[in-house]
């Protein structure tokens, strides 16, 4: 039994407590401290991945009291998500070292880093919680930290967006907690492993409790991960927050909730119960509407960050679609899109943030010729845009390929058409930005971006990962396949 996964949490929470104190010594300490801690957590999650690779998935019982009860489950889904969360979290943190001074009040910087680490800890906890109540606690930590990351930026827009997010997110948490209560009522269990055995028994005598609980979970997590039409909070929150907050919201937070609900559905309720209420059909329908509505609304936006936020609604619907297909390649597509979209959407938000940092431009129309003033940023933005559209050679193509393959495997070829048609819609709003930036009339001389180095470095590494997973997806595919098998078992 390895202590590594718990150490990740301990390190994050301890550092989140200490960072504001370090700020009393020197103002720049919290940023660098957070960087050191996140790097350490990434190393720990790599070590944990290697350990699981050698010894296989395992359960960890805090305090060593033995199960069942409070449990931490480390399977391949956990490993995949830990690597994604800590890698993307680290890169966004590197970027924020350069960017945040321009977006936040200097006094709130230590608090920002502290909240950011709590956020990462909660995300790491969510994907490894092995019992429902720890899961709920991590959900609440995640909710509060996520709202705080939006509302910490000065200005009334962020405050409004944060408050709206908090109210809707709390409705979601309430529904999830009620669902946990309904499950506990008929099974007397909270541990997920024990529940997977107890639920079929309880289902025969109390089917309504199970049905209602499952619906509450789907709607509750649907609010938190912006399943259409429960997405109303997302555009405001993701568009108004500081660039690194937008990146972590769009890139990681909403996806972790999908992983959690997928784990609940497939591992404790089972795919049969999932199909008994017509949940897969409903989710497939909603995600199809979400894909089109998100794309059409994105086309209508004039603000670049709002456009990216609406694009997130469309992209998150792909992930829901992959899981609702409930076949191995569909789930692989969903998991791949969680990783790939996590990297590319963070990258796009960071690139948009860099444009705003340097020029203050938010309107898409005004981006004409920006490629000559910020060539590096716009090249990175273009990589992200092409990847979103799903051009072969970029990582977005791989996940869409698997999603389409999943639709065929599930015997629902109509969704292949949905994926193809929506790729065209993506092209309609992403490509004009790229074309305008590089082919618009040239203003003044060609200059390099002159961004602070942390911002440039973070974006370049993300672009490198995007290309790596687009051209040589082998190792990622192997990991995702193991995770998909673990999720369905």
């Amino acid at each position: 039994m390895s202590h590594l996964p718990v150490l990740i949490l301990v390190v994050y929470f301890a550092a989140a407590l200490l960072l504001p104190l370090l700020a009393k010594l020197k103002n720049s300490f919290p940023g660098w401290g957070a960087l050191a801690v996140t790097s350490l957590a990434l190393l720990l999650s790599i070590a944990s991945a290697l350990y699981v690779g050698e010894n296989g998935p395992y359960s960890y019982f805090p305090g060593g009291h033995g199960g069942p009860g409070i449990e931490i489950t480390v399977d391949w889904v956990t490993v995949l998500m830990h690597l994604t969360i800590n890698l993307v979290g680290l890169l966004i943190l590197v970027y924020s070292l350069g960017d945040l001074k321009s977006e936040l009040h200097p006094d709130s910087l230590p608090a920002y880093y502290s909240i950011y680490l709590v956020m990462l800890a909660a995300l790491n906890g969510l994907v490894m919680a092995g019992d429902l109540f720890n899961l709920y606690i991590f959900i609440e930590i995640c909710t509060i930290a996520a709202c705080a990351l939006v509302a910490i930026k000065p200005g009334k827009l962020c405050l409004e967006a944060g408050l709206k997010y908090m109210f809707l997110s709390t409705l979601g948490s309430g529904m999830i907690l009620l669902g946990i209560g309904l499950v506990y009522m008929v099974t007397g269990e909270l541990n997920m492993g024990a529940l997977s055995e107890a639920i079929p028994l309880a289902f025969s005598s109390y089917p309504w409790n199970i049905y209602v609980a499952m619906s509450l979970f789907i709607v509750g997590f649907g609010i938190k991960s912006a399943l259409f039409p429960l997405h109303v909070w997302l555009p405001d929150a993701h568009a108004s927050a500081a660039a690194p907050s937008s990146a972590i919201h769009s890139g990681l937070i909403i996806k972790v909730f999908i992983i959690v609900v997928a784990r609940l559905i497939f591992q404790i309720f089972g795919a049969n119960l999932f199909a008994a209420i017509p949940a897969p059909e409903v989710i497939l329908l909603l995600s199809t509407i979400g894909i089109f509505a998100g794309s059409v609304l994105a086309i209508a936006q004039t603000d670049i960050k709002r456009m990216l936020a609406y694009s997130t609604i469309a992209q998150i619907s792909y992930i829901f679609m992959g899981f609702a297909l409930a076949v191995p390649s569909g789930i692989m597509g969903g998991l791949l899109h969680i990783v790939n979209h996590g990297i590319m959407k963070s990258m796009l938000f960071l690139a948009a943030g860099a444009i705003i940092y340097k020029t203050g431009i938010r309107k898409i129309d005004e981006l004409r010729g920006i490629g000559f003033r910020m060539p590096l940023t716009m090249s990175i933005f273009s990589i992200g845009a092409l990847s979103m559209v799903g051009i072969p050679g970029f990582s977005g193509f791989i996940s869409k390929y698997y999603l389409a393959f999943g639709a065929l495997e599930a015997g629902k070829p109509i969704y292949v058409a949905v994926i193809l048609a929506s790729s065209l819609l993506n092209a309609i709003y992403y490509l004009p930005i790229v074309v305008r930036a590089f082919l618009g009339h040239k203003e003044g001389k060609f200059v390099w971006d002159q961004l602070p180095w942390p911002m440039a470095t973070a974006m370049v590494i993300m672009a490198a990962f995007n290309l790596l997973f687009g051209i040589l997806p082998g190792s990622l595919l192997r990991l995702v396949e193991l995770a998909a098998t673990a999720l369905l078992s």
Partner: protein, 112 residues
Amino acid sequence: MFDKLLANLHFLAAMLLFIIGFYTMLTDSNLIKKVIGLNIMDTGIFLFFISLGYSGGPAGGEANPLPSALMYGGLAAAVSLTAFGLAMIVRLYKYYGTIDADEIMSKRGEAE
């Protein structure tokens, strides 16, 4: 039928509280009332959980401590969310001079 309802009155009360709170949070335009709705909703869930722990007969008997213990976690979350929400509302009041969501929307419309 009526006996069954009477025996499960606590569940009915919990569900009513949940629905009242849920409805208030969704529909009331007063932000403070939304926070109150949040608390009513959570109270409904707490009542539901704690009544699950009751296992004795009419004279009392013993109770399962686990659901009550779990609700300490729920309470902590509800208190933090209430405090955080109220703090945000105070800040919003400084910007707009009102705590009514509709008025804030119309003031925002005028400004733009």
